[in-house]
C-alpha cells in the first residue's frame, strides 16, 4: 500500500453498450490516491457497470481506463492490482474463513509462512481471529462482510472496489460497518471506489460523491456541495431524507409563483416553468397571521426527534421537518417562510440556475441554509416590508 503513484484511477470517455442500449455513456473522472469516492445513483444508472469496468469484469465498449501509469482497459481483472468486495460477499461456501481470506494469496503463490503471517494480521484488523475455522454458513451477515473485507485487505492492493457491500445487512449493522469501513480505509490509506444507492452511505463515507443517472455523471462533488448546491433537480431529489421539495413554478404578476398559489412571489419571472427546491429542514412554519406563503397542514409524521409535516401550497405538496413534536392539527392554516439562500432554482431542463436570485418570502426568516434551530414560534408581525400580500 505504499505505491502511491500507482493508485490514481482515470476514466476517459468510458462507454458500455449492450446492443442498442447504453449502460454507461462516455463518462470521465479521476480518483486520487487515498480518496474514498462514492458512485451514487438509482438502480440501472450504470454505477455498478462502471465499477465492473474498472475491475475488468466488464469490457468497456469505448474509452480507456488508466490505473497509475498503465492503460488497463484490456487487461484481465487479475492483472489490474485491485481487490473487490461484492454485494453478495462472494465467499467460497466450502472453505473456512481462513482459507477464504488467503484464497487470493494462494492463487498468487505467496509462500505459506507469509500467508499465515498476513492472515494473522488481517484477522486481527477485522476482528475475526476467533472465527478462522468456521464456514461462511456459520457466520452472521456482519461477520461474512468482515471476511469479504479481510479478503480485499490481505491482497494489499492499493485500490479496493466495493459494490453495495452493506445492502444485505440490517440497519443497525449497516451503521456500524459504515464507520468500520471508513476507519479501515483511513488507517490503511486505501483508494476506495464505492458503489451504493444509499445516500446516507454516500454522505457519511465519501470524500467525494459521483452522482449518476441514466449512464451519465450528473454531479461530481463533495458531499457538502452535493447537498447544498445540487446541480440538477434530480440531484436535489436524490439526496436528503425526506428528499428536497421540488415544486413547479408558474408566472403571475410579473414574478414566478408556486403553481396554484399566485399571492406570494418566490422568484423572478425567468424562473417560471422551472422548479423551486426547498430542503424540508429549511422551511419554517409561521403563524397564520404572519407574512409568508399561505399553506395548510395535510398531516404530520412524528419521528421522535422531529416531525415531518406535509403541507399543501396551491396545487403542490411540501414537506417540512420540524424539531420535536408539533402540535399543529391536520387541516390547520399557517404561513411558510425560508431564507432566500435556502431556495434552489432549477430550469425546465432540470439544471440549476445560479443566474437567478430567489426572492425573500418572509423577512422573519433570514438565516442562511444549514444553520440549526428552526424558528417555530410565530414571528412578530408587521416587520416584513418586502412581502407582497
Amino acid at each position: 500500500m505504499n505505491h502511491a503513484s500507482q493508485q490514481r484511477i482515470r476514466l476517459e470517455g468510458v462507454t458500455k453498450r449492450w446492443g442498442d442500449s447504453r449502460g454507461v455513456d462516455g463518462i470521465s473522472f479521476d480518483v486520487d490516491p487515498g480518496q474514498f469516492v462514492i458512485l451514487l445513483g438509482p438502480s440501472g444508472c450504470g454505477k455498478s457497470t462502471t465499477l465492473r469496468m474498472i475491475a475488468g469484469l466488464e469490457q468497456a465498449t469505448e474509452g480507456c481506463i488508466h490505473i497509475g501509469e498503465r492503460d488497463v482497459t484490456r487487461l484481465p481483472p487479475g492483472d489490474r492490482g485491485l481487490s473487490m468486495v461484492f454485494q453478495s460477499y462472494a465467499l467460497f461456501p466450502h472453505l473456512d474463513v481462513a482459507d477464504n481470506i488467503v484464497f487470493g494469496l494462494r492463487s498468487r503463490k505467496v509462500p505459506r509462512a507469509e500467508r499465515r503471517e498476513r492472515l494473522q494480521r488481517v484477522a486481527e484488523l477485522v476482528d475475526l481471529g476467533a472465527y478462522l475455522d468456521r464456514k461462511p454458513a456459520q457466520l452472521s451477515g456482519g461477520q461474512r462482510q468482515r471476511v469479504a473485507l479481510a479478503r480485499a485487505i490481505i491482497s494489499e492492493h492499493p485500490i479496493c472496489l466495493m459494490d453495495e457491500p452493506l445492502s444485505n445487512l440490517d440497519a443497525r449493522l449497516r451503521g456500524e460497518m459504515r464507520r468500520e469501513i471508513k476507519a479501515l480505509q483511513t488507517r490503511l490509506g486505501m483508494t476506495v471506489v464505492y458503489v451504493t444507492h444509499d445516500q446516507v452511505e454516500a454522505m457519511s463515507m465519501g470524500d467525494r460523491v459521483i452522482l449518476m443517472q441514466d449512464g451519465i455523471i450528473v454531479q461530481d462533488d463533495s458531499p457538502d456541495d452535493l447537498y447544498n448546491r445540487p446541480a440538477t433537480a434530480f440531484a436535489a431529489s436524490f439526496i436528503g431524507s425526506p428528499a428536497m421539495n421540488l415544486v413547479h413554478l408558474d408566472a403571475a404578476g410579473g414574478k414566478a409563483v408556486i403553481d396554484g398559489e399566485p399571492s406570494v412571489a418566490v422568484a423572478p419571472v425567468e424562473a417560471s416553468n422551472g422548479q423551486l427546491g426547498l430542503r424540508p429542514e429549511d422551511i419554517v412554519v409561521l403563524g397564520p397571521d404572519d407574512a409568508g406563503l399561505p399553506a395548510r397542514v395535510i398531516d404530520g409524521e412524528y419521528l421522535g426527534a422531529d416531525t415531518i409535516l406535509r403541507l399543501a401550497v396551491g396545487s403542490q405538496v411540501l414537506r417540512a421537518r420540524l424539531p420535536g413534536k408539533r402540535p399543529l392539527a391536520d387541516g390547520q392554516r399557517c404561513r411558510l417562510g425560508w431564507a432566500p439562500a435556502a431556495a434552489h432554482l432549477f430550469g425546465d431542463d432540470g439544471a440549476r440556475r445560479d443566474d437567478l436570485t430567489p426572492l425573500t418570502v418572509s423577512a422573519a426568516v433570514g438565516r442562511p441554509s444549514g444553520d440549526g434551530g428552526h424558528s417555530a414560534s410565530p414571528s412578530p408581525s408587521g416587520t416584513s416590508p418586502g412581502i407582497p400580500s
Binding site: A55, G56, P77, G78, F86, A90, H94, S107, A137, S155
Partner: protein, 295 residues
C-alpha cells in the same frame, strides 16, 4: 389428559401421513426382498413337488459356479468401464454447455438426446453401428482401408462395445445434474477468483469441483446402481454372449429365472447383488459424505 390426547392425535396424524409411502415401499420393495431372501434358502420343486428347504446350499453352489464368477467379473469391468468415464464426460459436457457459446440450447439438447431414447431403441441404433458387414464403424474403417472388427461377436471386444454404448447413453443424463448444480453456483465466485488472477484450472479444482461434490456423490450412487440394474441393451445387442463375454449379473438372474426356470438360484444371486450394492453404497457415503460440502 387433554395434552396426552393431542399428543396421540399428532402421532396418529404423522403415522397416517407416512402410510401411503410405507404401503408402497413394503409392497414393492421390502416384501419382495424378504421373499427373495427366503426363496434363496430352498431348492425348486419340479413337476408339482413342494420346494425343499436346503439352507445355504444355493450359496455353496453359487460359489462353485464358474459362470457366476465370470459374470461378476464382467459386471465389475463394466462398472469400472462405464462409471468414471461417463461421470468425467458428463462433467466436461456440463462445463462446456454452461459456458457462453453460440447455439448453447441446441448443444444441450443434443447431449441430452441419448437419455430420452428408450434403452431398447438406443441398442437398436447401436446394432446398426456395430453390425459386422454393413455397420457404420466397419464402413468407416473400410474407407480408411482397415479391416473391420466383429464388435459384438468377438469375445475380446464385445464387452468394450457394450461399455461404449452405455457411456454414450448415460453421460447425457448425468450432465443434466451437473449442469443444474453449475447453474446454482454464484457467478461472483468466479469473478472474485478472477480478481486474484486465479487460473481456470486452479478455480476448477479449488472451487467448482468441491462445490459439485454433492452432485458427484449422487451421480456416483446412481451410476453404480445403473451398472447392475440396466440390462435392456443386452437383450438386443448380445444376449449375454458370445460365451458369456457380455453377460452381466442381472441378465444372469433373468436367464436363471426365466430360461433355466431355477427361481431359487436366481433369488440367491439377487440376494448377493443386494448385499454387495448395500455395502458399496454405505462405504461411499461414509467416505465421501465427510468430504462433501452441502449448501
Amino acid at each position: 389428559m387433554v395434552e396426552m390426547n393431542s399428543h396421540r392425535r399428532m402421532q396418529l396424524y404423522g403415522a397416517l401421513l407416512l402410510l401411503p409411502a410405507a404401503v408402497l415401499l413394503s409392497t414393492f420393495a421390502y416384501l419382495p426382498t424378504i421373499t427373495t431372501l427366503i426363496n434363496s434358502l430352498f431348492l425348486p420343486g419340479f413337476r408339482g413337488a413342494p420346494t425343499e428347504f436346503v439352507g445355504l446350499e444355493n450359496y455353496r453352489l453359487l460359489i462353485e459356479d464358474s459362470t457366476f464368477w465370470r459374470v461378476a467379473r464382467n459386471n465389475l469391468i463394466y462398472a469400472l468401464g462405464t462409471i468414471p468415464t461417463s461421470i468425467a464426460l458428463a462433467l466436461a459436457m456440463a462445463l462446456f454447455v454452461n459456458a457462453r457459446l453460440p447455439g448453447r440450447g441446441f448443444v444441450r439438447m443434443a447431449y441430452f438426446t441419448p437419455t430420452i431414447l428408450p434403452m431398447i431403441a438406443a441398442a437398436n441404433i447401436w446394432m446398426f453401428f456395430y453390425a459386422p458387414q454393413i455397420g457404420l464403424f466397419n464402413k468407416l474403417l473400410g474407407a480408411l482401408g482397415l479391416s473391420g472388427v466383429n464388435w459384438l461377436g468377438d469375445p475380446s471386444v464385445a464387452l468394450s462395445s457394450v461399455i461404449v454404448m452405455t457411456v454414450w447413453k448415460e453421460a447425457g443424463f448425468f450432465m443434466i445434474f451437473y449442469l443444474a448444480a453449475l447453474q446454482g453456483m454464484a457467478p461472483e465466485l468466479k469473478e472474485a477468483a478472477d480478481l486474484e488472477g486465479t487460473s481456470r484450472w486452479s478455480f476448477f479444482w479449488r472451487v467448482t469441483f468441491p462445490l459439485l461434490m454433492p452432485t458427484t456423490l449422487f451421480v456416483l450412487i446412481n451410476a453404480l446402481i445403473n451398472a447392475v440394474r440396466v440390462v435392456d441393451h443386452l437383450f438386443i445387442l448380445t444376449k449375454g454372449g458370445p460365451n458369456n463375454a457380455t453377460n452381466l449379473l442381472l441378465y444372469y438372474v433373468y436367464e436363471n429365472a426365466f430360461s433355466f426356470f431355477d427361481r431359487t438360484y436366481a433369488a440367491t444371486i439377487t440376494v448377493v447383488i443386494l448385499v454387495v450394492l448395500a455395502i458399496v453404497a454405505t462405504v461411499k457415503f461414509a467416505i465421501l459424505d465427510r468430504r462433501t460440502h452441502y449448501q
